[in-house]
C-alpha cells in the first residue's frame, strides 16, 4: 500500500550543500558498536533487558534497463528494557549501506537537529530510529522520545495518519515500518472507563525526506514548473534551498485524540495543528510578471478529523474523514509557470475488508479529496479520487504469503501494481520476491516513475 498524495507534495529543487552540516562518524566505530550489540543480545534475551537483531539484504533490478537499483545491507538492533514496574526503555538503531545509492548531504535539512542520520562515507548511514521512555502513571502513559504514532483507520491513505513525516527515498515502495520517519515528541495517553485521550507535543522540525535522484518527483502536481517562455528568459529564477522546518514552540506540532470503542464500533475524534511535512515553492514575480524567485515554504496546517471502524460479519468497514481550512496547491500562472493557491480541503477514505477466505484478506479502499471553490486555475482537479485493492493470502500455516495490490488514480489514470511472495524458511530467515510496476502519463503521481519498474529480492535474518 502507499502513502501517496500529501506524501509527495514537495518541489524538485536542488538543495544547497552545507558542509558544516555534514555529520560523519568513524565508520569502524559505528559498525563495531552494532556488531557488539548483536553479540551481546545472545546473553540478554531473558529478563528485563532484551536485545534483538535483524539483518536484511535487499537487491532491486530495474526491469527496463536491467540495471541494479538497490544493493542494500541493513543491520537493525532493537532494545527493550524494563527499568522498573512503571518504567520502560525502547530503542532501535539502524545501519544501512547501499552500494547503488550515495548519501545526499544536501538533504540533511529535512531533519531536525537531533533527528539527523549519521552518514558514514558516501554509502553508509546510521540512524537512531527509535528511542523512547515509557512511564506508566495509573491509567495514563507518558511516552517520551523518538517514536511514531499512527492515527486513522485506512492503510496508506494519509487522511489522518499525518503525525510522522515520511521517507520517500523509494517513493512508496519501502515497507511500512521504514517509510515513517520517527520524531521526538511527548505522547501522553489516558484510558478511562469509557473514553481514551491522547495528547501529542512535537517540537521536532523533521520534515518528509524527498530524494534527489532516482525517485525525485517531477509531476507538476507536486513540483513547480516553469513555462517555456519563462524558462527561455534571459535570467533564470533564483531557487532558494530548503530552509528546513521552522523551529520554536510557536511552530511545534500539537495533536489531540479522543477515542471510544462501543458495541462493535471504534470512533476517534482528532485535532491536529502542524507545520506541513512537505514544502511548497512560493514564486515571487518581478514587474514584468516573470518568476524571479522560488522559495520553499512550510505552511501551518489546522485539521479536524474523525475515524470509524465496525465489524459486520465477515466484513470490516473502516473510514476516516478530515477537514483542513487552509491547504495550498500549485496553480498555473499563464505564460510563467506555477504559483500557489489556498483552498479548504475535505478528504475522506473508506475501506472494506473481507475476511471470507481462509487465512486471507481482501481490502478495497477509496480515497477522495474535495476542494472548496473553483479549481480552474489549479494543476489538480477539484475532486481527486483514488482506489486501491489489496489481497493477502497465507498458505501452509503461514510458511508462504502472497500479496497483490493495485493503487489507481481515477483522475490521472495512473497507478502502481505490486506483487510479492514471502517464504518464511525458518523462524529466523525469510525471503521475499516482488515486482513493482508503475503505469500512466509522466504528469501523474505514479506515472512519473513509469521508468522505475523493478523486481526485488529481500532476505531477512532475525535473531
Amino acid at each position: 500500500m502507499s502513502h501517496w498524495t500529501r506524501a509527495c507534495s514537495r518541489v524538485n529543487i536542488c538543495r544547497a550543500v552545507d558542509p558544516v552540516m555534514r555529520i560523519r562518524i568513524n565508520k569502524t566505530a559505528g559498525i563495531s558498536a552494532l556488531l557488539l550489540m548483536s553479540a551481546m543480545q545472545a546473553d540478554l534475551q531473558a529478563g528485563p533487558l532484551n536485545l534483538s537483531t535483524e539483518l536484511m539484504f535487499e537487491q532491486a533490478h530495474a526491469t527496463r534497463s536491467g540495471t541494479v537499483h538497490k544493493l542494500n545491507l541493513s543491520i537493525v538492533n532493537k532494545l527493550d528494557a524494563e527499568l522498573s514496574d512503571d518504567l520502560g526503555l525502547h530503542g532501535n538503531l539502524r545501519f544501512n549501506h547501499d552500494r547503488r545509492d550515495s548519501n545526499d548531504y544536501s538533504q540533511e535539512r529535512s531533519y531536525g537537529h537531533y533527528s539527523r542520520p549519521h552518514y558514514i562515507g558516501q554509502q553508509g548511514k546510521l540512524t537512531l530510529q527509535e528511542l523512547y521512555l515509557d512511564w506508566q502513571m495509573g491509567s495514563g502513559l507518558l511516552r517520551l522520545g523518538k517514536q511514531q504514532v499512527a492515527w486513522g483507520e485506512t492503510d496508506g491513505m494519509r487522511v489522518l495518519d499525518l503525525v510522522n513525516p515520511l521517507d520517500l527515498s523509494e517513493f512508496v515502495l519501502a515497507p511500512f515500518d521504514e517509510i515513517r520517519i520517527l520524531v521526538w515528541m511527548l505522547n501522553y495517553s489516558w484510558i478511562g472507563e469509557e473514553y481514551a485521550y491522547q495528547f501529542l507535543f512535537i517540537p521536532d522540525t523533521t520534515r518528509s525526506y524527498v530524494p534527489n535522484g532516482r525517485f525525485q518527483p517531477s509531476s507538476p502536481l507536486v513540483t513547480p514548473v516553469l513555462a517555456p517562455s519563462q524558462a527561455a528568459g534571459a535570467q533564470d529564477p533564483v531557487i532558494y534551498p530548503d530552509p528546513g522546518g521552522r523551529s520554536g514552540l510557536k511552530y511545534a506540532d500539537l495533536g489531540l485524540r479522543l477515542g471510544r470503542s462501543l458495541a462493535g464500533r471504534d470512533l476517534n475524534l482528532i485535532l491536529l495543528r502542524q507545520q506541513s511535512h512537505e514544502y511548497l515553492a512560493v514564486a515571487s514575480l518581478d514587474a514584468t510578471g516573470q518568476i524571479r524567485t522560488l522559495t520553499p515554504t512550510y505552511f501551518m496546517r489546522h485539521l479536524a478529523g474523525v475515524s470509524y471502524s465496525e465489524a459486520l460479519d465477515e466484513f470490516v468497514f473502516r473510514a476516516e474523514l478530515s477537514y483542513s481550512p487552509r491547504e495550498y496547491f500549485y496553480q498555473r500562472i499563464p505564460g510563467r509557470g506555477s504559483g500557489l493557491n489556498r483552498r479548504a480541503e475535505w478528504r475522506y477514505a473508506a475501506a472494506l475488508d473481507w475476511y471470507g477466505m481462509d487465512d486471507g484478506l481482501l481490502s478495497m479502499q477509496l480515497l477522495q479529496s474535495v476542494l472548496a471553490g473553483s479549481a480552474t486555475a489549479l494543476v489538480r482537479d477539484r475532486v481527486d479520487t483514488s482506489l486501491s485493492l489489496a489481497l493477502s493470502q497465507n498458505f501452509l500455516n503461514q510458511i508462504y504469503r502472497l500479496d497483490l495490490s493495485l493503487i489507481h488514480s481515477l483522475n490521472q489514470k495512473d497507478g502502481l501494481l505490486r506483487a510479492s511472495v514471502l517464504w518464511n524458511t525458518t523462524d529466523h530467515l525469510s525471503i521475499s520476491l516482488g515486482v513493482d510496476s508503475f503505469y500512466g502519463e509522466a504528469t501523474g503521481l505514479f506515472g512519473q516513475f513509469r521508468e522505475r519498474d523493478r523486481v526485488s529480492l529481500i532476505m531477512k535474518y532475525a535473531f
Partner: protein, 271 residues
C-alpha cells in the same frame, strides 16, 4: 463471577467427582456444562504458551506467546495474546472480547506500523496465527451459554489412554450456527475424574474427520483450587496435511488480578 460463587462451584464439582453413582446419571448436556465449569472456574488465567508448529517432515517452528484470559464475566470471556518470540513476530498482539449474541470484538496490533486495527469477529475457521488451531478453538464452544447452540449426545463410555471417559457428540443446533462454525461435528472424550476433554475429533461439514486434539499433562495450577486440574499440553493435528501444533503451558497461574484496561483497543495500541 465472585470468588464465593466460584468456591461453591468448585465444591459442587468436587462433590460430583466423588459420587460416581450420581455422575453416571448425568446427561450429555450436563456433562458439557461441568466441562465448561472445570475450564472456567477461575477469574483469570495467565500463562506463557510455547507453540511448536511441526510439518509432516518434522521441521519445527517455535513461537512463544504471553496469553491472558479474563473469565470474571461468565458471559464474556476476554482474551489477550502477545508474541514474545521469534523476533519476526515479536510484539504482535491480539485482543478478543466474546459476546453471547453479537460477533466478537477483535483487534490486532502490528508493532511495525504502530497500528491497531479491528478485524472480523466472524472468522472462526481461520488458522490461529499459523497454527493448527482456529480462532474457534479458543472460544468457549460448550456450556451454559454457548451450549445452547449445540445438540449433545452421549455416545458411549470408554477407557482412553487409561482414562475413564464419556464420549459425547456435539453438533451445531441451528443452520446459522452451522454456517459460522468450521465444524460439522465434534466427538469429545471427557474424563470422568476432572471433566476436562482429553481427546477431541473435529469433523468438517461433509462428515470427514480432519483434525484431532489431545490434551494431557494434567496438573494442579498455582493460584487455583487444590483439586483443580488443568491440561498443560495441547496437541492439535491436521490429518490432511500431517501438520501439527503442540501448545505447552508455562508459568501457568490462575486468579491473578488483572487490569480490565488490558482488554481494550487503547491498551493494545500502546504496544
Amino acid at each position: 463471577m465472585c470468588k464465593t460463587n466460584q468456591s461453591i462451584l468448585v465444591a459442587l464439582l468436587f462433590f460430583f467427582m466423588m459420587t460416581p453413582v450420581l455422575a453416571e446419571a448425568l446427561t450429555a448436556r450436563e456433562i458439557m456444562i461441568r466441562n465448561e465449569s472445570a475450564r472456567k472456574a477461575d477469574i483469570s488465567e495467565v500463562a506463557e504458551l510455547q507453540m511448536t508448529l511441526i510439518n509432516h517432515q518434522g521441521r519445527e517452528r517455535v513461537r512463544r506467546v504471553s496469553f491472558i484470559l479474563d473469565d470474571t464475566d461468565p458471559l464474556l470471556r476476554k482474551s489477550y495474546l502477545r508474541f514474545i518470540a521469534p523476533q519476526n513476530v515479536e510484539g504482535i498482539a491480539f485482543v478478543q472480547l466474546e459476546h453471547a449474541q453479537a460477533d466478537n470484538d477483535r483487534w490486532l496490533y502490528l508493532p511495525s506500523q504502530r497500528r491497531t486495527r479491528r478485524i472480523s469477529g466472524n472468522t472462526k475457521t481461520d488458522s490461529f496465527v499459523g497454527t493448527d488451531f482456529s480462532f474457534e478453538d479458543f472460544e468457549i464452544l460448550d456450556g451454559q451459554v454457548a451450549g445452547q447452540n449445540r445438540n449433545y449426545q452421549l455416545l458411549r463410555e470408554e477407557i482412553r489412554d487409561g482414562v475413564d471417559c464419556w464420549v459425547i457428540e456435539a453438533v451445531p443446533a441451528t443452520d446459522e450456527e452451522r454456517a459460522i462454525s468450521g465444524y460439522g461435528k465434534r466427538v469429545i472424550w471427557i474424563a470422568k475424574s476432572h471433566y476436562h476433554a482429553v481427546y477431541t475429533e473435529f469433523y468438517d461439514h461433509h462428515g470427514e474427520l480432519f483434525k484431532v486434539m489431545t490434551a494431557d499433562q494434567f496438573a494442579v495450577v498455582a493460584g487455583g483450587d487444590s483439586e483443580e486440574m488443568r491440561p498443560h499440553r495441547l496437541i492439535m493435528e491436521t490429518l490432511k496435511t500431517g501438520h501439527r501444533t503442540v501448545i505447552e503451558f508455562r508459568d501457568f497461574v490462575l486468579n491473578e488480578p488483572l487490569d480490565p484496561r488490558m482488554f481494550t483497543r487503547e491498551y493494545l495500541s500502546r504496544g
